[in-house]
């Protein structure tokens, strides 16, 4: 048995989930949410995380009902091969589109701040080999690598939040926006969520011992709490000028730039963003690879990684390369894809669970 074949532990899955729930929501999202829901924008992640938690709970039910079967096998058994392929094809697109959006946002963040003269090629040179390596090495290696960085990620995030709290001068007046605004903003940005769909793709590659489910639920809960905290701290720090500061985590650190004589502690948040982007892109690539292999048959893993990279590079180079376009793309195009994690997959899983129950009764 090679390292690739071995399954993930509850901790590794929890950390993977922690990272994917957290990393694409701490940079541009808080500022964007302000535009729609003003200072109550932190309600948006609360609402959307409730949905996300529902998805994780559904996964828990599915894993208990189908402990050894893959998602593709479950879909094929109850809905047929065509439905399975269509769903996995859509999931494949969902993850690659999210990867493109994440890459653009990170690229523009770095281009604005520290790589003013550098090209997109340099960024691709950085990301592509690392994420491809992680993807090909397999989930186990990916999980273990994230495990090493996990204490650092949590530590730095908590540090950023604490530093951010020091920057809050007054608590602003609340309830300036209506429930309708919050709901509309939630729908507009729903595509930023639904990442826990990854759990369904790796359902057969996880070994969760009795009593270890709480690890997964706790880590996802902590991740959600941190996102909400960062959003709230950012909004309370910049209040009515929040829309002028596009990079939330970095901006809350900038506010106290020379804190304690250390100097430029905002760099810490920047490094955190880089690490998180690497991991999140690697997860997206791996999810793409897993669905690709199911859709196009059992072909070589390397071909699936190359396919991701080709599509990714082409999309990055020709479709979206500025923040405005990226945001428009995220707001106008991706919400339709959110139907997949929040409607289609849950409905299918629900049907599968009901059918399984009937089978058992018979």
């Amino acid at each position: 048995m090679t390292i690739k074949d071995k399954s993930l532990t509850a901790w590794q899955v929890g950390i993977m989930l922690f990272i994917i729930l957290f990393s694409n929501k701490i940079l541009v999202l808080p500022s964007l949410l302000y535009e729609g829901a003003k200072l109550e924008a932190y309600f948006v992640p609360i609402i959307l995380f409730v949905l996300e938690f529902g998805l994780i709970y559904l996964f828990y039910r599915m894993k208990r009902a189908f402990p050894t079967q893959s998602f593709a096998e479950i879909l094929q058994k109850y809905f047929g091969k065509v439905v399975m392929k269509v769903i996995l094809f859509l999931i494949m697109l969902f993850f690659i589109f999210k990867a493109i959006l994440l890459y653009n946002v990170t690229y523009l963040f770095f281009k604005t701040l520290i790589y003013q003269d550098s090209s997109n090629i340099l960024f691709l040179f950085c990301f592509i080999p690392v994420i491809t390596h992680l993807g090909i090495m397999g989930l186990r290696v990916m999980g273990r690598t994230m495990q090493i960085f996990f204490p650092l990620i949590v530590g730095v995030t908590v540090f950023c939040i604490v530093i951010g709290l020091l920057g809050i001068k007054d608590l602003p007046l609340l309830f300036q926006s209506s429930i309708g605004d919050i709901a509309l903003t939630s729908i507009k940005h729903i595509a930023g969520f639904g990442d826990s769909l990854l759990l369904f793709l790796i359902i057969d590659k996880i070994t969760i011992k009795r009593g270890q489910w709480k690890v997964i639920f706790s880590l996802s809960g902590i991740s959600m709490f941190l996102v909400i905290s960062i959003t709230a701290v950012f909004l309370f720090t910049y209040t009515y000028t929040s829309f002028l500061h596009p990079f939330a985590l970095f901006e809350i650190m900038c506010y106290v730039k020379e804190y304690g004589g250390v100097g430029r502690i905002d760099m810490i948040s920047m490094l955190l963003i880089v690490i998180l982007t690497y991991f999140q892109l690697a997860i997206y690539l791996k999810m793409f690879m897993l669905s690709f292999l199911e859709v196009f048959g059992k072909i070589n893993e390397i071909i699936s990684a190359i396919s991701f990279n080709l599509f990714f590079i082409l999309a990055i180079s020709y479709v979206v390369l500025n923040l405005g376009k990226a945001i428009l793309y995220g707001e106008n195009f991706l919400p339709y894809f959110a139907i997949l994690p929040f409607v289609v997959v849950p409905v299918l899983c629900f049907i599968a669970l009901v059918l399984l129950k009937r089978e058992k009764k018979k």
Binding site: F127, V130, L134, V141, I148, F149, R264, V274, Y278
Partner: protein, 473 residues
């Protein structure tokens, strides 16, 4: 048996080498022949314990009588095809004209050095003896740590020409039988002309022989090997090598030092953290300095930026070339200092530190910050001396990454290297355990160290048979 013919046959097999000695005596019509190698046998023992008793014997000499009268406790029978092999290992072959049998008496002797403190792992407190090149001495040094019956030594011969003795040492009931079996299987498969040192076996025992990562542990100190065996590891002692190999190996082992176990546990934990920081700086430091100078000078606090800009503005080279040049200079000095006689060491230091360093800075060829960064990185490299070769390679890789891709490339490189290390497993043991996969109980003696009485179990990072180390009952 035709003694003359047989004697000549063995001599021919040994190519009439100049150290082949043979002697035939005749007693009461019975001829007795002795064949041995002068270079690896004890001449005094031969004459007093073998030759004299036989030549002075007055009765009828038979094979069984000879066996009885020689004064040695290492006497054995051998078949004709085994005789040459036994002679080559320091045995004296004795055969008689009235018998078809061969007697081998082991009187092997050669000069060995006494156990002394190994230069690679000196300690402030704790045992100072180190392994030598002699297999028997090394076995004794290990045996002295285990007077219990659990210690097992198993011998294998490796090398078509060298027939080197390799001893597999482990504690029965503690070490995993499966790993012992796997090691034997791997060693049996080895088809090599010779094993000159234990390092020859490292790549043969590694799952990924081409990897730059170290996959087999090594030590020159019996106390370290004994403590590793107590944890369930298996030791490989190779004749003619003072380095004993230990399997399975994890990166963590190099982060630990024998000093840690003979000092306060809090201080030991602190030292381990310092070693990790040192290792990290050694790998990434020069690359990060280049990246900051080339790409990200705007993220440096303004005061530091002014200082660095002040000292680098006259330098004709790019930061990468400058750092590479200083590194190369250091590596040349290091190589020279290793090979030069010790009395020339002072001259090398003067040339290196004063002439090349100081004058280079004054001439404006290299800047003081670059010298400081490289110096710190090179010193930091030796906080974990066992990993020095790997770190040097990675240092260069990270310098290239820093110069070409900046911080983004450096962080990508770090993730890549850690992911790669995570993919390495030797004898079922993850390279980065107990950090990833995270094993809580093993972290009692990992980056942090708890008092000895709290380390109640053996490591779970690798397979072993007996979990319990300290019984509270």
């Amino acid at each position: 048996m035709d003694i003359k013919k047989q004697e000549q046959k063995f001599k021919d097999k040994l190519h009439n080498s100049i150290d082949v000695a043979s002697r035939t005596i005749s007693k009461n019509g019975v001829e007795v022949c002795f064949v041995y190698l002068k270079s690896i046998t004890d001449n005094l023992v031969f004459s007093q314990s073998i030759f004299e008793p036989i030549s002075n014997f007055e009765g009828e000499l038979t094979f069984d009588v000879v066996k009885q009268i020689v004064k040695s406790n290492d006497v054995s029978d051998a078949k004709e095809q085994q005789v040459v092999e036994k002679i080559l290992k320091g045995g004296v072959a004795v055969f008689l004209s009235n018998s078809e049998q061969y007697l081998i008496i082991d009187i092997q002797k050669y000069n060995t050095r006494a156990p002394s403190e190994p230069p690679t792992s000196p300690v402030i407190m704790g045992p100072r003896e180190g392994f030598t090149e002699d297999l028997k001495t090394n076995m004794t040094l290990i045996r002295r740590h285990f007077y219990g019956e659990e210690l097992v030594f198993e011998e294998m011969l490796i090398g078509e020409m060298t027939k080197t003795q390799v001893v597999i040492a482990y504690l029965d009931g503690v070490a995993s039988k499966d790993i012992v079996k796997e090691i034997k299987k791997k060693l049996k498969k080895v088809k090599i002309d010779g094993v000159v040192d234990s390092y020859y076996l490292i790549s043969l025992l590694s799952n990924r022989p081409n990897s730059i990562l170290k996959q087999v542990g090594n030590s020159e100190k019996p106390d370290i090997v004994a403590s590793k065996m107590l944890e369930g590891r298996i030791a490989l002692i190779v004749d003619n090598s003072p380095i004993v190999l230990t399997i399975p190996f994890m990166f963590l082992e190099d982060l630990q030092s024998s000093n840690d176990y003979y000092t306060n546990y809090v201080y030991a934990s602190l030292l381990r953290i310092v070693r990790l920081i040192g290792l990290f700086f050694a790998v990434v430091g020069p690359g990060a300095y280049i990246a900051l100078q080339l790409f990200h000078h705007n993220i440096l606090p303004i005061k530091y930026l002014i200082t660095i800009a002040d000292s680098t503005q006259q330098i004709p080279f790019t930061p990468f070339v400058e750092i590479l040049f200083i590194n190369l200079l250091f590596q040349i000095l290091y190589e020279v200092s290793l090979r030069l006689p010790s009395y020339l060491g002072l001259a090398t230091s003067v040339v290196g530190a004063l002439i090349l360093g100081d004058t280079g800075v004054k001439a404006g060829l290299i800047s003081p910050p670059s010298v400081i960064v490289v110096a710190i990185a090179k010193i930091a490299l030796y906080t974990v001396p066992e990993q020095a070769s790997q770190i040097t390679i990675l240092q260069l890789v990270f310098m290239i990454l820093g110069a070409s891709l900046g911080i983004l490339g450096l962080l990508g490189g770090i993730i890549y290297v850690i992911a790669y290390a995570n993919s390495v497993e030797n004898f079922g043991t993850p390279y980065l355990a107990p950090f990833s996969p995270f094993i809580l109980s093993d972290n009692k003696d990992a980056l942090l160290k708890v008092p000895l009485q709290d380390m109640t179990t053996r490591p779970k990072s690798f397979e072993n048979n007996d979990e319990e180390r300290i019984n509270d009952d």
